[in-house]
């Protein structure tokens, strides 16, 4: 009989599965207890022995386990997907990122675009919460999202397709800059998926799922990944370092003082005369610049030379006129010889705003890949990500100044470039882009 031959049981008792999630902290604290008890025992009975052994073999602390087993596991931590605003922008930067820029097969079929966005939003909603995507062939890889976020960015043709009247005037290619050496296959794109997470495995899984679901609607135009220090490697909140060794992203619009609200989301304070407005409430923009960094050329500089090119010291990232990282640079200060302490074409002087509008949120990732040319030993650079409510008012004047004069240009070369409109977030049952009609 067919029934008796059924290949698998299909009925499960679901009350079992509604168990409260095993909480990370419970798990950890138990591990702590067990461990510290062991540690105590060892400490009491074993110290003498250990010390003797260490002395005899001439090693000090290397008897300690390489990885402290009490280190908290953070794979299950999640960032909300649903909300007024998309995650992955105000979210403190995760350790890993991959940006997928897709070309859509058709730019005249809004229904197809909506189906695609519904699918991808559904995937993102599940994966970011540690749940497998629908029809996930590797569901186990979804279990440790580690603050996974998926942020959608729309190119001009996609916004036009969904809502022709909503296309922001700044949503187009940046003007050409003399410093640019852009490769066309590293530029543009109709739909951007910015995947960030602290675990490269769940990032890779999300990447696979999203690309799989996009398959019927478009193809990758470019894919770029990058990294920052891994979670837990450095004190929380410490400013990242780029591969030139510089403390990078010191000067940032902060949530604490409201400047983030203005710079990224276009909500100026009530008494502001600024004309910066978001293209859509809770939307913003992303400028991607893929910038290659000439590590060998950088090597030839003295430490002093490196510091004066940027206007900050390398050790703590303090302006050359200050002591601490967060000290305000004094662009007026001159040396005994009468030269400005922060050089005329130092990066921070050139990047420093001339108007309140000229501020951006940077959230960049390092990249380091095998060289394409055999005469080099690396292909290194920065996946430079800049968020701002208005590309023309905020980003462009800065980029313009840097292109016209910035000591750093000698060692940095933009090779990729793209601009995306970031739509608002969505609610359960909705999808990213459903606000555009």
């Amino acid at each position: 009989m067919g029934r008796t031959n059924r290949t698998r049981a299909t009925i499960t008792v679901i009350r079992m599965t509604t168990d409260p999630e095993r909480s990370e902290s419970n798990f950890d604290s138990k591990a702590h207890r067990d461990l510290s008890r062991r540690g105590l025992l060892l400490g009491a009975g074993g110290t003498g022995l250990a010390a003797t052994a260490a002395a005899a073999f001439g090693f000090g602390r290397s008897t300690a386990p390489a990885i402290d087993p009490r280190e908290p596991v953070h794979g299950t931590s999640t960032i909300d997907f649903y909300g007024n605003r998309q995650a992955g922008i105000d979210t403190p930067a995760q350790a890993h990122a991959v940006l997928l820029a897709l070309d859509l097969d058709r730019n005249d079929d809004p229904d197809a675009a909506r189906r695609l966005l519904r699918l991808l939003s559904d995937d993102a909603a599940r994966l970011t919460q540690g749940r497998p995507a629908l029809a996930d062939t590797e569901p186990e890889l979804a279990e440790t999202p580690a603050r996974l976020t998926v942020t959608f960015g729309f190119g001009p043709s996609l916004v036009r397709m969904l809502s022709p009247t909503s296309v922001p005037h700044w949503l187009r290619d940046l003007p050409h800059f003399d410093i640019d050496r852009l490769e066309s296959d590293l530029c543009g794109g109709d739909l951007l998926l910015q995947i960030c997470g602290d675990d490269p495995v769940s990032v890779a899984h999300a990447r696979r799922i999203l690309l799989k679901d996009a398959r019927g609607y478009g193809a990758p135009r470019w894919i770029q990944d990058g990294f920052r220090s891994s979670r837990g490697a450095r004190p929380r909140g410490e400013t990242m370092r780029n591969l030139f060794g510089q403390v990078d992203e010191t000067v940032q619009p902060r949530t604490s003082d409201g400047s983030r609200e203005f710079v990224v989301w276009g909500n100026p304070p009530p008494d502001s005369t600024s004309t910066v407005r978001p293209w859509i409430t809770d939307g913003t923009s992303l400028v991607v610049r893929l910038i290659s960094m000439d590590m060998d050329g950088w090597d030839e500089l003295s430490r002093r030379g490196k510091e004066s090119s940027i206007g900050r010291d390398l050790r703590v990232g303090a302006p050359l006129t200050g002591v601490h990282e967060t000290d305000e640079p004094d662009f007026e200060e001159t040396s005994d010889m009468g030269f400005p302490v922060i050089e005329e074409f130092a990066h921070i002087r050139r990047a420093h705003p001339h108007a309140v509008e000229e501020q951006i949120l940077r959230r960049s990732y390092n990249y380091d890949r095998p060289p394409k040319d055999t005469d080099r030993i690396s292909d290194t650079g920065q996946l430079f990500l800049s968020y701002q409510a208005d590309v023309v008012e905020q980003f462009l004047p800065i980029q313009q100044r840097l292109a016209e004069g910035d000591r750093l240009n000698e060692w940095t070369t933009p090779i990729g470039s793209a601009v995306f409109a970031i739509p608002p977030g969505c609610r359960p049952g909705g999808y990213i882009g459903d606000c555009l009609t």
């Binding site: 698998r8 499960t12 605003r85 519904r118 003007p175 609200e261 909500n267 978001p278 420093h352 049952g429």
Partner: protein, 232 residues
């Protein structure tokens, strides 16, 4: 909700003046300055569309109300008809897909399958005896059997899907599923498809599934003869 007018945040503005306007003149931009933001767009239609007695909505109501409310907290007064999830579905809902996880395998024509969990929300056993959908001529309830050669094959199940009280039917590739026969049109990934499930007492309930391309293949269909051999 999140599509309203830009909200003003109240805060002292000194931070914006920390910038020094010193030595450098403002460089004019190569881009035309004419197209200024005409204020934020005011998109319409961002309400969640609700369907009566849809199981999907029950999931939203039950599981997601907290999140939905949270999204609302910092927005300006609600405009219009956007009420968020309501009590629809509620009491009468007897079945739902636990994680909102019903999906249909995308197909160009012919037949295709539906997978996902169907949870019995009642205290009694439920038997699904039939199903229908606007996108296909008919829907069959299928199970997978091992044929005489030990190969997996699918066939219509006798009776229906019996889901005991407090249990869930897990439909997955290689197991039980709904089978759409005679698709009226292509089912592209991302499309939402409605199904009406009929219970043994003659009542019915509507559920929704999303179309996905999982790259998988349907099992071969047991031929009638073959099936008969198996069943007799």
């Amino acid at each position: 909700m999140h599509c309203g007018a830009p909200k003003q945040i109240r805060r002292d503005s000194t931070v914006f003046e920390r910038i020094s306007f010193k030595t450098y003149s403002y460089l004019s931009l190569p881009c035309d300055g004419k197209s200024r933001a005409q204020g934020p767009a005011r998109p319409k239609g961002c309400n969640i569309k609700m369907k009566n007695s849809s199981c999907k909505i029950t999931v939203l109501c039950a599981a997601s109300l907290v999140a939905v409310t949270a999204c609302n907290t910092d927005t300006s007064p609600q405009e219009g008809p956007d009420q968020g999830p309501t009590e629809e579905g509620g009491a009468d809902t007897r079945i739902h897909s636990e994680n909102d996880d019903l999906w249909v395998r995308s197909a160009g024509s012919g037949m295709t399958s539906v997978f996902g969990t169907l949870e019995n929300l009642t205290d009694d056993d439920l038997e699904i005896v039939a199903a229908e959908t606007p996108v296909a001529e008919s829907v069959e309830l299928h199970e997978i059997i091992l044929d005489d050669d030990g190969q997996e094959a699918m066939q219509e199940i006798e009776g229906g899907f019996l889901i005991p009280a407090d249990a869930a039917l897990e439909m997955e590739p290689g197991g039980d599923h709904l089978m759409l026969m005679g698709l009226h049109h292509e089912l592209p990934p991302g499309e939402l498809v409605e199904f009406t499930l009929e219970f043994e007492d003659g009542s019915a309930e509507t559920i929704e599934a999303i179309v996905k391309d999982d790259g998988g293949q349907d099992e071969p269909y047991e031929s009638d003869d073959h099936g008969d051999q198996n069943d007799h």
